[in-house]
């Protein structure tokens, strides 16, 4: 049977695999560091898992609370519900458990929830008002694909290391404040060595913390591309998403991002603000630049018009 294939995005898959591999290396480096310093990781792991599990299991409720979004019934927002249900049928996934509206005029949307059945899609009033039918459909498809790809699960669990390293960093910080480093200091030489080890661990943990943060943000950007791609395939109209994105981006930079997919923890210390500058801002963003996303969608549209995508299956 012939099947029109939209072509896999090999490059994106490779990039994701590479980022995942690097993340694995960072995990291993962290393990080695702990082993070297003789730190028992059990408390840290338990703390990390509890935090992640809390995010993971509470994400659907948390999001409605913290953003002030209100779940809407099909009677209140029939079009919104009907559109999501049609897209869910097409994507062969269950309709998300809750649809919610956030009362702000800035057009935006996000999705959360640990699995497709518990998922929540939130759109702002501005999105429903300012985007046309095709654009709304494209944005909703993008959010549905986030759910289908289980981005909340992937990113929260990948973020475990950020939480653990952040925890250790804080512990070390407080220990150093209260003179924990010297270990009593009876034996000067031994004490000096202990201080060196602690300093080494401290610096190593900071490096690991920021490396893993960077990698997870990178992964998050790649998953945005993947969701864009999935949306274009689902609606069959890549340019609808492109035009929606350009509308959203007009206003978006003016407000703080309320995207809860981003793994936020222990922004405590300094470095984020120290790294400002255009290139760094791109590295530290959970989303790729809109121009790049639009460019990719344009390429997809071009692919749809090319006879060469005809492949035999």
């Amino acid at each position: 049977m012939r099947q029109r294939s939209y072509g896999r995005d090999r490059e994106l898959t490779l990039r994701m695999a590479f980022t995942g591999f690097l993340l694995l290396l960072v995990y291993m480096a962290f393990g080695l560091l702990l082993l070297w310093a003789g730190i028992n990781p059990i408390f840290m792991v338990v703390f990390g898992v509890v935090m992640v599990a809390f995010q993971y299991f509470g994400s659907d409720k948390l999001v409605l609370l913290t953003t002030g979004s209100r779940a809407v019934t099909p009677e209140q927002e029939p079009r919104f519900h009907a559109m999501v249900e049609r897209l869910a049928a097409m994507a062969d996934m269950p309709k998300p458990k809750k649809l919610a509206v956030m009362e702000t005029h800035v057009p935006n949307a996000f999705a959360t929830g640990r699995n497709p059945k518990k998922a929540v899609i939130v759109v702002t009033r501005g999105l429903l008002a300012r985007l046309d039918e095709g654009e709304q459909e494209a944005v909703l498809a993008h959010e549905l694909i986030h759910i289908k790809n289980r981005d909340v699960m992937v990113l929260t669990w990948a973020g475990l290391i950020v939480i653990m390293a952040g925890y250790l960093m804080q512990m070390l910080f407080w220990m150093s404040l209260f003179g924990g480093f010297g270990g009593g200091g009876r034996d000067r030489q031994g004490g000096g060595q202990a201080v060196m080890i602690m300093l080494g661990v401290y610096v190593g943990t900071i490096i690991i913390y920021f490396l893993s943060q960077l990698l997870i943000l990178t992964l998050s950007r790649y998953r945005e591309y993947a969701a864009d791609r999935g949306s274009a395939i689902l609606t069959g109209a890549p340019l609808h998403l492109a035009s929606a994105l350009s509308k959203l981006s007009d206003d978006m930079y003016r407000i703080p991002e309320k995207d809860l997919r981003q793994v936020k923890h222990a922004n405590a210390f300094f470095i984020v603000s120290a790294l400002k500058g255009d290139k760094m801002a791109a590295l530290l963003s959970s989303h790729p630049p809109v121009e790049k996303r639009i460019e990719r969608l344009r390429n997809m549209q071009r692919d749809l018009e090319r006879p060469s995508i005809f492949t035999g299956i």
Partner: protein, 189 residues
């Protein structure tokens, strides 16, 4: 979706599964005597169009085919958008088997053009105790489910459950998970 699909965020649409589609024919024959469930003589097939010249070629061919088959079987047709991003070929024929055959023809043509994954559902209209009822064949799942409207925007779940029992009696493969009984608002017939 498999583990790799999740890990790499890969997405494909599921291809149409038409294996069980014809079970509606035998069921319709044995339901013929009933007075509470009557075919509305209308059916449709719904798909999600792609913005591409190849899809436009497909639609042109569909129109030609439908014109020819209208000539042969007397099946009237209409192509309509529903405002939810999907497009309908609506058919009108008193002969139920002609409806089924024409829907099959449309599905076959769409698949031949390589757009089988754009097919969403085939829908048969019924009058069930005075309410607008539909027998929906979900192409993604290869299963039927009932969809009954009591008003313009209201589903009659009780009637759907009764109709479901009736369908099962007639050996129609019914979708077992209720959350997959997607509401199809805006059916244009």
């Amino acid at each position: 979706m498999g583990l790799l699909g999740v890990l790499f965020g890969r997405n494909k649409l599921r291809k149409a599964d038409r294996e069980q589609f014809f079970s509606i024919v035998t069921a319709a024959v044995s339901l013929r005597g009933r007075t509470d469930l009557r075919p509305s003589d209308r059916a449709g097939i719904v798909f999600n169009p792609v913005e591409s010249q190849f899809f436009e070629e497909l639609e042109a061919e569909l129109r030609d085919l439908l014109r020819v088959s209208a000539h042969a079987t007397g099946t009237r047709y209409e192509i309509k958008d529903d405002g939810y991003g999907t497009r309908w070929v609506v058919l009108d024929d008193r002969d139920f088997e002609d409806l089924v055959a024409t829907i099959h023809l449309v599905a076959e043509t769409v698949t031949e053009h390589g757009f089988g994954d754009r097919l969403l559902a085939a829908v048969f209209g019924f009058d069930y105790k005075g309410e607008r009822a539909y027998c929906v064949y979900n192409m993604k799942r290869g299963r039927f489910y009932p969809f009954v409207l009591s008003g313009e925007k209201e589903r009659d779940n009780a009637a759907e459950m009764r109709l479901c029992a009736l369908m099962e009696e007639e050996k129609i493969p019914v979708e077992s998970s209720l959350e997959r009984w997607y509401a199809l608002w805006g059916i244009p017939f």
